[in-house]
């Protein structure tokens, strides 16, 4: 890695990814996601301009806020995951992280990025995939999509600096949160009925 300071960040990031994937409570997932985007900000700020990195952080935080403010989404849970389910998710994430580590040099060379950016980006991407692939609950799925996009943006915004593309991506990010909150709210009201 380029900077020693990124080692603790990456360790914390991996912990927050496991936390995000394994816990059922929406509140815990929101906290894990917040930690995740702050850690991503600390990494991005070393490679991007402060304003650009901050705009990504703010977009993520706003999206999260939209999700949190959804009526009924704060306290409910999907239902207890089985122990087997958790073991499966943890093992899957573990295997994917291993795959990322084993191919990190080639991937970084291909993307022409530092390992400090590539490793968090790919780890977050696979965690996002696992989140929405292993759940049917709207909250987890939407958070999974947002997580995947956070990972994608680390790579994509490093290679494509166009303001319009990044602005549109930010709009999509926020719009996904709005649509997600719309689905969550109506779904939970429907369940109540």
């Amino acid at each position: 890695m380029e900077n020693w300071i990124n080692y603790p960040s990456v360790v914390l990031l991996v912990i927050s990814l496991f936390w995000l994937l394994l816990l059922d409570s929406h509140r815990s997932m929101v906290i894990a996601f917040s930690i995740l985007v702050v850690l991503v900000f600390t990494i991005n700020i070393q490679f991007w301009t402060f304003g650009f990195a901050l705009s990504k952080l703010l977009t993520s935080m706003m999206a999260l806020l939209i999700m949190i403010l959804t009526p009924l989404s704060g306290v409910t849970t999907e239902g207890e995951s089985t122990r087997t389910g958790r073991i499966f998710r943890a093992t899957a994430l573990g295997f994917f992280l291993l795959l990322v580590i084993l191919t990190i040099n080639e991937t970084s060379a291909f993307l022409n990025l530092e390992i400090d950016q590539t490793f968090p980006a790919l780890s977050i991407l696979v965690c996002g995939f696992l989140l929405f692939a292993t759940s049917q609950e709207p909250f987890r799925v939407i958070l999974g999509l947002l997580t995947m996009l956070v990972g994608f943006e680390i790579v994509y915004s490093s290679v494509e600096q166009s303001l319009l593309v990044n602005g549109l991506l930010a709009a999509v990010f926020l719009f996904i949160a709005i649509v997600g909150s719309y689905l969550i709210a109506s779904n939970e009201k429907g369940n109540d009925q």
């Binding site: 060379a109 999509l145 290679v159 494509e160 319009l164 602005g167 689905l183 429907g190």
Partner: protein, 464 residues
Amino acid sequence: MSAPLVWIIIPLALSAVMLAFLQYPRLLKTLGILESLILTLIAIIQPIGNVLRVGSVVVDISPEFNILGRTLLLENSDRFALSLVYACLLLYLIVMDTKSVPAKFVPLSISITSVLISALAVRPFLYAAVLIELAVLLIILMVREKQDQPVSGIIRFLIYLTLAMPSILFAGWLLGGSQAEATIETKMMSAVAFLLFGFMIWLAVFPFHSWLPQFSQAVNPLMFSFIFSVIPVITLLIIMKYISSLLWLKSSEFLSPALMTIGLIMIVTTGLFSSVEKDLKRFLAYAVLLETGFALTMLSLQSSEGVELLYESFVPRILSLGLFGYSLSVLRNSGITLSHDGMRGMLRRFPFATVGVLTSLLSILGVPIFAAFPIRLEVMNLLSQSSQSNVLWIIAGLIGGLVGTIRTFAQVAFPVGEKWEINEKISQVIVIGIAVVILMLMGLFPRITTGLISPFIAEIAVLW
């Protein structure tokens, strides 16, 4: 005034204003019909780049509109798509029943259409991925009707279509002369893989098709048929432009066989699935998949005949899917379960809606005297010149679809009670009757379809 302003920005702005009048569905419907009618007529009559004269007012319609350093470009070759998409919107707004379809359908359908047109117009093309994602998000706001509506199909739709966006953006970056140090060949192959993945998801190509039947089960059939009358047409055109702009891809040896194989797999698997399907809403999704399969086969011909056929096929496709969706929504609004069990004996209770369903199915399958027949026949004729086995695969797929249709017919024609009734409203009878007659006329007189697209042919041929 520029063309993107007329067909994208103004409709978008108007749809935003319309959102403030959701408590007046009839007013919204009238405004929507007027707006889409005007836009369709301008697209048909007015060549882009010429001046538009309305009385003493003279408006110069230029093809370009610049926004934040990027360009929206609508040329004469796009006029067919503009006319088709806005005419499709017009049809759906005319037949929309304000009591059963939520008022938000009007502004959202207009904004979805404008965003999709902007995806077709944007330069460079990679921005289309983001714009299509925005359209998808608007679609979700549109299709969510009731709180007890199952969301799993809608969520699958969101997940899959969201996966397509990063994939296409990334491919765009790889193709755009990035600073990556990988070899050119590795870059190109990676770009093709990402592009292919993104396009396959956009078109719900096998094996990424499972979300489509789930989505069709979750939403109003009329909205579903509107969405999948418009999205595949626009995405196919974007894909054509994308590939046309990449000369190495266009001239590569694997493109035609790949498109052909994917198209044939779609036709055969759709036939197989529909032969055992009992849910008519899922049948609607299979109809979309079958049409996409044929569209890919037409593209695989890589000739102007193939492209003309593709453009001709859009008209019966939109009409057949529209009739299918409309007939299903008539039955659904009357409390009928849209499955074989629920539809048992419906020919005697809802004769027009049932005939509408059967006619649209027969038309999509290309049965003689219906609209798609001349096109299916011509595709098979062109394919037989290179490989007869491909024609056999297509026939196998169509036979599968026909088996499913005959099974549906057996259920709806099952004699439950002696009496024949007409439970449809007179307006519904008129709409279904007109659509059935048009589909039959287009089958009997194929020149009607050719005549519809002939004014645009000169521009179309250069696309591929």
